[in-house]
């Protein structure tokens, strides 16, 4: 009896237990990622928000007083640096797109068996540190560097012509450093395009430009969106390029955050600046997504 009574049970219970585990599986798989985000993103961000609204300093301790003076100071005092960040970030992103699109297009459609090799060459600079790559631009663009010494010896520019340090070199550095972030997403979306669609468009009397405008570009939009965001966001917050390749008038908001923290030892203003920067980026991204249209981006 006992055996007969218990034996049908396991088959009856097993599916439900398996189903429960099955339902929980996605959450279990998400746990590491969620924990990571909580510990290294959510908590620090909340902490930074609290600091930006506190008074006091690190030695006497911070008290949450909802004092917004750090925000008024951040917005009022550092407008030129915000303008620099937005301008340089935008120009660098557009330059990355103009340089990166033909490269990605060539790799995707004309790469042939050299595809992997060219992709490797795009990523290769990442094997050295960001700092070294930026410092080498100091040598490349230097007054006696390879570029200027040739141009000067040919008499194209005057002997005391120099590019470094300037807004131009900052933008050049940003463009160079973030170019792979533009090329790779563009390549991924271009690579997925079925060449038969382009053939079909030619059959329908589309010229090369028409095929590009109506087939290639719309299908590459998700890549354009991802690429511009991956370039624009880090470029906006960057301070290394402005620090190494720029002048005192080309400083970006990242430089202000750095010097307010490291020189003055102030915690509130850098925290407030970071939030203003985040807000600015979010607004820019929303406008951008609206302009491009979300359907194209997910489709």
């Amino acid at each position: 009896m006992a055996v007969a009574a218990t034996s049908p049970r396991p088959p009856a219970h097993a599916p439900s237990r398996r189903a429960r585990v099955g339902r929980a599986a996605p959450y279990l798989l998400l746990t590491p990622g969620i924990l990571w985000l909580l510990i290294f993103f959510i908590f620090p961000t909340l902490w930074m928000l609290l600091i930006s609204l506190s008074s006091g300093d690190i030695e006497s301790g911070f008290r949450l007083t909802f004092d917004t003076s750090a925000y008024t100071k951040a917005l009022g005092q550092f407008t030129p640096q915000f303008v620099n960040s937005l301008t340089y970030g935008s120009i660098a992103t557009i330059s990355c797109f103009l340089i990166g699109f033909p490269v990605a297009y060539t790799i995707a459609f004309r790469g042939g068996r050299y595809k992997n090799l060219i992709l490797f060459m795009v990523i290769a600079p990442f094997f050295t540190s960001f700092l070294i790559r930026t410092l080498s631009w100091k040598i490349l663009l230097g007054d006696n560097g390879p570029l200027l010494s040739i141009v000067k010896s040919l008499g194209i520019v005057s002997p005391d012509f120099s590019v470094l340090p300037s807004a131009f070199s900052v933008v050049a550095g940003l463009t160079y450093n973030f170019l792979p972030f533009m090329i790779l997403p563009l390549y991924v979306s271009l690579e997925k395009i079925d060449p038969r669609l382009i053939e079909a468009s030619h059959d329908l009397y589309a010229g090369n430009w028409g095929a590009f405008r109506h087939i290639t570009l719309p299908l590459a939009l998700p890549g354009v969106f991802a690429g511009t965001l991956l370039t624009f966001i880090p470029a906006l917050g960057d301070y290394v390029n402005a620090d190494l390749l720029g002048t005192t008038t080309t400083r970006m908001i990242g430089n202000v955050i750095q010097s307010q923290f490291f020189l003055i030892g102030n915690y509130q203003i850098p925290a407030a600046l970071s939030f203003v920067l985040m807000a600015a980026i979010l607004v820019a991204v929303f406008i951008y997504a609206r302009v491009l249209g979300t359907e194209e981006l997910t489709g």
Binding site: I58, E59, Q77, F78, P80, Q81, K138, I139, G142, D143, N144, S162, L164, P165, T247, T248, T249, T250, R251, N255, V256, S259, Q260, F261, F262, L263, I264, G265
Partner: protein, 426 residues
């Protein structure tokens, strides 16, 4: 300018190349003096300074405590670039690499302590920001020995963030600290600090670049301002705001040892047009800018160009005056290996070792008797008068030395920081 009287060959000899030649003999001499023995360096008769017994007879000619049994482990030491003697590839690169400094190698041999020497300090405020959170939280900073300029040392000590030095463990320091450096208001009994090196802030220039561009080498801050007016991109000031504001105040006839909000503002206003034209602020990275031909003339620290620059790079004592300062060895609170830090302090206060060091880095040694050692090391060739003045400032230089007011009250310090940030672009 001063060097035009010196024949070219001597000038070259007195610079780095001479140093590299004497370096080897100097190393041999001090290894011999310390009873160590480097297999490859055979001390010759000339290598051993007179008065030092040959190796083997007396293993320890200078007062040194027997290494106590508790010594060992690793010494984590943060210092400024161009502040230690280097040999071989590291000397050419101007960057410390493990095993490249005879002073450190010999210390490791002598004490069994592993030295983790890092050229991590390029700016007082910047370095302070990296250790402040740990100090506030009562945690270890990860460093056993740090080197900070007077004003920052005074600040750290006043906050109680520095370990007290056990004077019994540093007999060389007690005996050999030069008198003018004793009894400072912020640490009168040297309970918390011993100077690492003293130095001056003046003008450095690259004679080759200036000649090519038909510019007369600067003799004063006013001259530096003139060069900056025409070639702003090739001139740099220092990120260490006390040095920069101090020198500009001297140019304006103001007293940097008694600063006010008004005098700081005057210095700021004098620099404004030059900065707008493109003058940059550099930390110790000015050494690379000189090397790349980017900087032709700049505000620099006294020993750097002689020690780490090329033969074309010179230091001048501006006619208006120079800024003086000391960088001080401190043991931050929570240091993991205080005995090792004290052993290092004691070791570098041995006149023989201090002399060798001074002879390599061209800063003013705070150690009594180091000057005699440097003179012996350079017995065969007279020192270039400028270099002579770097190591042993003569009465004419001493008369022009000024120290920046330390400590500043909070308001004045805020003003200084904000005026500096306004110039440097925020």
């Amino acid at each position: 300018m001063e060097e035009s009287n010196v024949p070219a060959t001597v000038r070259d000899l007195t610079r780095r190349r001479f140093l590299q030649a004497t370096g080897a003999t100097g190393v041999a001499a001090f290894l011999a003096a310390c009873g160590g023995g480097l297999g490859t360096a055979t001390p010759t008769a000339t290598a051993v300074p007179t008065g030092t017994p040959p190796p083997g007879q007396s293993p320890s000619p200078t007062p040194q405590p027997t290494p106590s049994p508790t010594l060992g482990g690793t010494l984590h030491w943060a210092n400024w670039p161009a502040y230690i003697d280097l040999t071989g590839a590291a000397a050419d690169a101007g960057k410390y690499a493990p095993g490249s400094s005879p002073t450190i190698v010999n210390f490791q041999k002598q004490t069994g302590i592993t030295v983790d020497y890092q050229e991590k300090i390029e700016d007082n405020a910047h370095f302070f920001a990296t250790i402040q959170p740990q100090l506030v939280a009562g945690l270890s900073t990860g460093w056993d020995l740090i080197v900070m300029t007077d004003w920052m040392a005074a600040k750290l000590i006043s906050k109680g963030w520095i370990e007290k030095i056990d004077h019994g463990a540093v007999p060389n320091c007690v005996a050999n600290l030069r008198d003018p450096l004793k009894g400072l208001s912020w640490d009168p009994g040297n309970d918390y600090h011993y100077p690492w090196q003293s130095g001056m802030t003046g003008i450095g220039y690259d004679s080759k670049a200036l000649t090519t561009n038909q510019i007369t080498p600067p003799a004063s801050i006013a001259d530096l301002f003139t060069i900056a007016t025409a070639h702003a991109k090739n001139v740099s000031f220092l990120t260490e705001s006390r040095d920069t504001f101090g020198l500009v105040m001297l140019k304006l006839g103001l007293d940097p040892s008694h600063v006010t909000v008004a005098t700081l503002q005057q210095a700021h206003d004098a620099m404004r047009p030059l900065v707008d034209a493109g003058v940059r602020f550099a930390d110790n990275s000015y050494l690379q800018d000189f090397a790349q031909g980017k900087t032709w003339a700049a505000m620099v620290w006294s020993g750097d160009l002689a020690g780490s620059g090329t033969a074309d790079e010179h230091f001048v004592f501006p006619t208006e005056g120079v800024m003086i300062w000391s960088d001080n060895m401190l043991i931050p609170k929570g240091a993991q290996n205080q005995p090792a830090a004290q052993a290092m302090m004691n070791y570098v206060y041995d006149p023989q070792i201090a002399g060798n060091l001074a002879n390599a880095i061209y800063y003013v040694s705070p150690v009594k008797g180091a000057d005699a050692v440097v003179k012996q090391l350079n017995a065969s060739a007279p020192l270039d008068p400028t270099v002579q003045n770097l190591l042993f400032p003569g009465p004419d230089v001493v008369a022009k030395q000024h120290a920046f007011q330390a400590p500043l009250d909070a308001d004045t310090e805020d003003t200084l920081n904000n005026l500096y940030l306004d110039l440097s672009g925020g």
